[in-house]
């Protein structure tokens, strides 16, 4: 049975803040930060936006192209669900008028909760339990003022509908690499996350992304040159570029899905928005590799082939690139007001 993505939708809030404005408030050198993180600006939510509103807007885009009444499940992955108890996914279900005959749950696995949702939906559809399942990754990422995270923590998200009819991108294989690695966390009732500094790199991000990607290529019997596009989780501009180089992917393969330089790290939305940006432009027959990363820690890797059905969706779906271009800059005081 051919199962994969049948539709997708994206959403990025309109507000942006430049690295220079955050650096000025922190008394730091902006050029040094820009060079270290390879990021020039980031998105931030409106004062009335959160993970629920972002997920709803992305889901409304995603269901434009399909018969949404066939959706049997909703999973929304985030580390900034507005409620500690009460699901984001039910608000999304109501806002896209799914009725009541569907199952729903919120997911949490740092920045990879969205791709974990894709795997769950894949299992539900492949097993024949339902025709379609919807999953999203969205965040209004938190960061302590003055913390290096403040330059990257951003807002945005993407939603994918997984199904077996009119598949626009077949998911050929998926594997995961998971371990207990405490590189980044937020304790119950704490406002901001904490992290292990440089420890978030080698034993955390690199180990998981590299192993998941290698295992996927082994399972799919592919090599980096078999892929037209590769998307890696993007907490900053440096990590995904370096991991791509280590694995043998070139700049041409990764640049269409590398959005962090323009919108920052949208946490659970990051690799999902990267994939959406690639689907916006991919041609039938092209092959895509996606590897997410979530602290704590794990990576999900996907081998995807685009079908000719994608052309219909591409005409009707709001493009990630257009969402990136549609922006309003704010200063640091407005940024603080919107994010605290």
């Amino acid at each position: 049975m051919t199962v994969g993505i049948i539709s997708w939708g994206s959403y990025i809030p309109r507000f942006r803040i430049k690295v220079e404005d955050i650096a000025k408030a922190n008394g730091s050198n902006p050029e040094q930060i820009k060079n270290a993180l390879m990021i020039s600006e980031k998105s931030l939510p409106g004062i009335d936006e959160d993970t629920i509103t972002i997920s709803v807007e992305a889901a409304r885009q995603a269901i434009k192209n399909i018969d949404s009444k066939k959706i049997g499940a909703i999973y929304i992955g985030s580390e900034s669900h507005p409620y500690a108890v009460k699901p984001t996914s039910t608000v999304v279900g109501e806002a896209i008028e799914l009725g009541n005959n569907y199952t729903a749950a919120d997911l949490e696995f740092a920045c990879k909760a969205g791709t974990a949702g894709i795997q769950i939906c894949l299992g539900l559809v492949k097993s024949g339990m339902m025709d379609m399942a919807l999953t999203g990754g969205a965040d209004t990422a938190q960061s302590k003022p003055g913390d290096p995270l403040e330059y990257t923590a951003a807002a945005g998200g993407a939603v994918f509908v997984i199904g077996k009819e009119d598949v626009v991108a077949v998911i050929n294989e998926t594997v995961s690499f998971t371990s207990d690695t405490p590189d980044f966390w937020r304790r119950e009732k704490e406002e901001y996350p904490s992290h292990g500094g440089a420890f978030t790199g080698q034993p955390a991000y690199y180990r998981h992304v590299i192993n998941a990607t290698k295992n996927l290529m082994e399972k799919a019997k592919t090599r980096p040159e078999n892929y037209d596009y590769a998307i890696f989780h993007q907490p900053n501009g440096k990590f995904p570029r370096r991991v791509a180089k280590i694995l043998g992917f070139n700049e041409q393969q990764i640049s269409p899905g590398l959005l962090v330089g323009y919108i920052g790290n949208t946490y659970s939305g990051a690799s999902m928005l990267g994939l959406a940006a690639v689907l916006d432009i991919a041609k039938p027959g092209q092959r895509i590799l996606v590897t997410s990363y979530g602290s704590g820690a794990g990576s999900d890797s996907f081998d995807i082939t685009v079908t000719d059905k994608i052309l219909f969706n591409q005409k009707r779906t709001k493009k990630v690139l257009d969402l990136i271009k549609d922006k309003i800059y704010v200063d640091y005081s407005k940024y603080l007001r919107n994010t605290q």
Binding site: D48, T53, P82
Partner: protein
């Protein structure tokens, strides 16, 4: 606002569900049980597309009053904001906030479309109310 009232209004707030009179075809938002034109009581649900034009607007520069002691921190921090009377494409008019735009982008007659946003937070431990606001339709 009481939780049951928020729950009852979900179709209106999330998806602009109003009423259609099957007798005279009049459309209403918010919902009403009797048609004000012909007195028909068999009103049917009707989903408005969510597109319209600004009839008039104002910029609110002071935080809203709070006579029922429903502390609304979010709205208080949100000033200044634009509040408009919008005429929907299908006819009815409603009052809503216009978001994500500067004062210079606002004009009477400007086309707007609905977006899904947070409306009220009933204090830090209360239920969050979501619903429609509008943005400029480019």
């Amino acid at each position: 606002m009481a939780v049951p009232k928020i729950w009852r209004k979900i179709p209106e707030y999330y998806n602009l569900i109003g009423k259609l009179c099957p007798e005279c075809n009049a459309k209403f938002f918010p919902k009403r049980t009797v048609c004000k034109n012909c007195g028909c009581t068999r009103m049917q649900d009707y989903k408005f597309e969510g597109k319209g034009k600004i009839v008039t607007y104002t910029i609110i520069r002071t935080s809203m009053s709070d006579p029922e002691q429903e502390i609304n921190e979010q709205a208080a921090r949100n000033i200044p904001y634009a509040l408009a009377i919008i005429k929907l494409k299908e006819g009815p008019m409603l009052t809503a906030q216009i978001i994500d735009c500067g004062d210079s982008e606002l004009n009477i007659g400007k086309k707007v479309k609905k977006v899904f946003r947070k409306i009220l937070e009933n204090g830090p431990s209360g239920v969050i109310q979501y619903g429609y606001k509008f943005k400029i339709d480019k």
